[in-house]
């Protein structure tokens, strides 16, 4: 598997995983990523990634009226998005296994 693609697509996978859990709008997805531990991720990166995934057909979108402020654009999964998430999971499992075995000694020492 192409691991450089994985690194570039790490945010894609994270965003897909969050949306797969529950449909969400921009700031909502950002907040859930931060809560999950991705504290360093940039706001614009998340909004841009949502947009790109939507344009590539991995996400679908619909507009919901909001009580406060403007309407919100919610994103949900498509079959293509689910497929992409599955693929990311497989690549990640492979990558993490490889890296874990490479770093095994150090990990044992640290642990």
């Amino acid at each position: 598997m192409d691991q450089s693609q994985l690194l570039r697509g790490a945010l894609d996978a994270a965003v897909l995983a969050v949306v797969a859990e529950n449909d969400g709008y921009g700031y909502d997805v950002l907040r859930r990523l931060r809560t999950a531990g991705m504290t360093e991720v940039g706001d614009a990166s998340v909004y841009g990634t949502l947009r790109r995934l939507y344009r590539s057909g991995a996400l679908t979108s619909y507009v919901m009226p909001s009580d406060e402020g403007p309407h919100r654009r919610y994103y949900g999964m498509t079959d293509r998005g689910r497929g992409q998430l599955e693929e990311a999971r497989a690549v990640w499992a492979d990558f993490s296994r490889t890296l874990s075995s490479l770093l095994k000694t150090e990990l044992e020492v640290t642990a």
């Binding site: 945010l11 709008y25 921009g26 700031y27 950002l30 940039g42 706001d43 614009a44 990166s45 998340v46 909004y47 841009g48 990634t49 947009r51 790109r52 344009r55 909001s66 406060e68 402020g69 403007p70 309407h71 919100r72 654009r73």
Partner: protein
Amino acid sequence: MNGATTAPDDVGRYVGAVREALADLPADERDDLLLEVEASIADAAGDTDAPVAARLGPPEEFAAELREAAGFHVASTAQRAEHGGLRSLAGRAARHPAWRRILSLARDLAPFWWVARGYAAVGILAVWLGTGWAERYPFVPRFNGSAALGVALVAVGVAASVAVGLFMRRREIRSRLAVVANLALVVALWAVLVEVDNATWGSPQAVAFVEAPSDGLALDGVPITNIYPYGRNGQLLHDVLLYDQAGAPLDVPGDRDLDPNRRFVLGKNGTTLLNVFPIRYFQPGTHTVAHPDAAPAVNVPVVVTAPLIRPEKETP
């Protein structure tokens, strides 16, 4: 929403600066994206009291990050060279509203093409097999000598083509093979139309039709082979000599050898008069006309206008 009095202005200014930094993007795409980003920034602003720029950084950097993550190419010369100037140009042309309108129109008109390509597919088969075209309707291919079979095959071809078109549209299938096949059928349609054109003008019927008016009498292109003159009392007249406005005899040409039973009327010097009507035919092998008053079923109207009166010579 806390800070509602100050935050919207702050957010609006920030988003305005981001919009400026994205000025090179297609307007509809940019506006749609920023509408959503503005809503999210406003939401985020509601959670803290810090100014938007302090939390998100300079709007130019935010715009660059947004652009990068959204997969929009930076409109700098270096980037354009990297991605291929032609491709980015083609991409921008493809996003142009006029091009989209053309595409949408083409999509609406596609069913006509489905019909045409179905005909082309069957037609090119006829061209290839050399089975020819129906005589009366030269655009109908003949198979096995049968125009009816041709019509049936064209119907099947058109139905199949429309079915394929509808199927691919519903499933939103786009394939390179389909593009190639459609281009091939455009060429096929052209070849079929050229063949049909040849069949139309090359057929003997067409030649006879074109030449007919120049040889003898004709009415609306249909040759006149006989004329039945009636007098005002409704009586069929015989051996009437007819001339046109220029004094030319209205001849129905004939030939004694080709038409041995025609009763040719002769003039004083033995000349054959071909403008004598009605033309009569002898009983084969004789010089008798069996029914001299035979005529097509005509309801001769009763004439009520007074007979033509010659003006009397004025006396001086």
